[in-house]
Symmetry: C2
Subunit: 309 residues, 2 copies
Amino acid sequence: MALTVVGSIAFDSVRTPFGERERMLGGSAVHFALAASFFTDVCVVGPVGDDFGEEHLAVLSERGIATDDIEHVAGGKTFFWRGHYDHDMNVAHTDDTQLNVFADFQPKLSPESCGSQMLFLGNIQPELQRDVRRQSAASFAALDSMNLWIDTARDSLVAAIGEVECVLLNDAELRMLTEQPNLVHAARATMELGPEVIVAKRGEYGAALFTGEGMFAIPGLLIEDVRDPTGAGDSFAGGFLGYLDAVRIAGEHGERALRQAMAYGSVMASFNVEDFGTERVASLTEGEIAERLSEFKRLTHFEEAPIVR
Amino acid sequence: MALTVVGSIAFDSVRTPFGERERMLGGSAVHFALAASFFTDVCVVGPVGDDFGEEHLAVLSERGIATDDIEHVAGGKTFFWRGHYDHDMNVAHTDDTQLNVFADFQPKLSPESCGSQMLFLGNIQPELQRDVRRQSAASFAALDSMNLWIDTARDSLVAAIGEVECVLLNDAELRMLTEQPNLVHAARATMELGPEVIVAKRGEYGAALFTGEGMFAIPGLLIEDVRDPTGAGDSFAGGFLGYLDAVRIAGEHGERALRQAMAYGSVMASFNVEDFGTERVASLTEGEIAERLSEFKRLTHFEEAPIVR
């Protein structure tokens, strides 16, 4: 039981209507790993520079996350992102991106990372995702991507999608990838590229799941204090795959587990947005997660009643 | 047990990526009444012109809807709307609006309409909504509105909201009305204006319910063939209030019934979008509605499972 994640390790400077923070620990691999660490053993693969200190590593290792595959590039600087959100917190505005050590990143998985049964390919260049997939013996691999790669590296992305078991994308990205305006058709068209599990992330509105067996839709939790949505999608993926790895059930024959995993993904994303960067998730307890799952179940519960006229 | 609706009776010309239709029967009162007619007795109040024929009236009366309060304005023309949808079918583009007989509409409720226990004020000028509310003895009144009235008649709209028990608005409209970017805060601020039940409609993403007792969120059904979304919000309202009227339970002490009503609202909206105008809903059967409710329950069902690490 182990889950390896490859993706960005970053410093994020973020401004929202509720405040701003400079150079917080962030990146897809970090948000994913922290969320997944409540469910299973996690190894992080990714590059950092000289500006990445022991205190940043400690945020991961204190959650029991294996950091041996975090590659320190001497003389380099860690990936940096600056962005802001206006009143519509569903839309991130990028003000600056500095790839830094990420520009020449050539992932090398250690034997431990190679042997994980599950693999998450965070949003990086699709050829890098393919390279990592070839190195890994995982029986279940999932990938995330973004509109940039759909625009600039479509063939590579389509090939990468053909080599994984699961795709997690925003609903708009699924539509863009497949040129299908209807989400159900877009998910089916993505499935035809190879994966057996498609997750459509829908921001504050929740997520939808498509498998060979059927469909599942879940709203987002209704959160009163959304302070910083950065990393919510990766926290969702971390809760989703972390739970699946823990129960060792995924793919077509695990519809029940996949639905439970969608609920845990939603719960982890809901914590992520309540504070800046990793602050909320890094300091969570299992009890808080269980309590919010119950709250989520109550939030979404309705009974099937007959027409009574 | 009876439900009166006041709103537009219209001819709609609509173009979507899936086809186009000229001068279909439409309008908020029509879509609402057809959806509600599967649950309870409905009376429609609204004006039509000389171009409104027996065949249009028959669409309503064949569903058992009382049409005595449909006012025929001699020499007038029926309200007309022309619009189109591009690939993002969540956004309606208006190409033409002709108020016609609606410009001088002064609603007059017959004794039968006045005596309904429930009242729906479709999206019309807020002072007209207030006028109707004053004429009605309904113990539970709900209203819909739109960005136009928030912009141009805010004070009237706020007064109208203070005189009803329930508000149904799009989530963006609730945020705009209250100037609260967070939906939970926006719903609470709307509740402070008077109503005890707030429904946030979220297009294809479903809907959320806010009462003094708590919150409820439901995704939209995942519909493969969305041909024309016009009237989906009114069909939702019709299913929602129609079911509530049938079970005679609404307001703060009916949380369970309100949730069931949200599910029926979603089901009726899902049928509405499957074909142009009123075509799908007008020809529905109770069996189809029950079947889709079961499908919706399966679509959204998940079990609460513990963390197993």
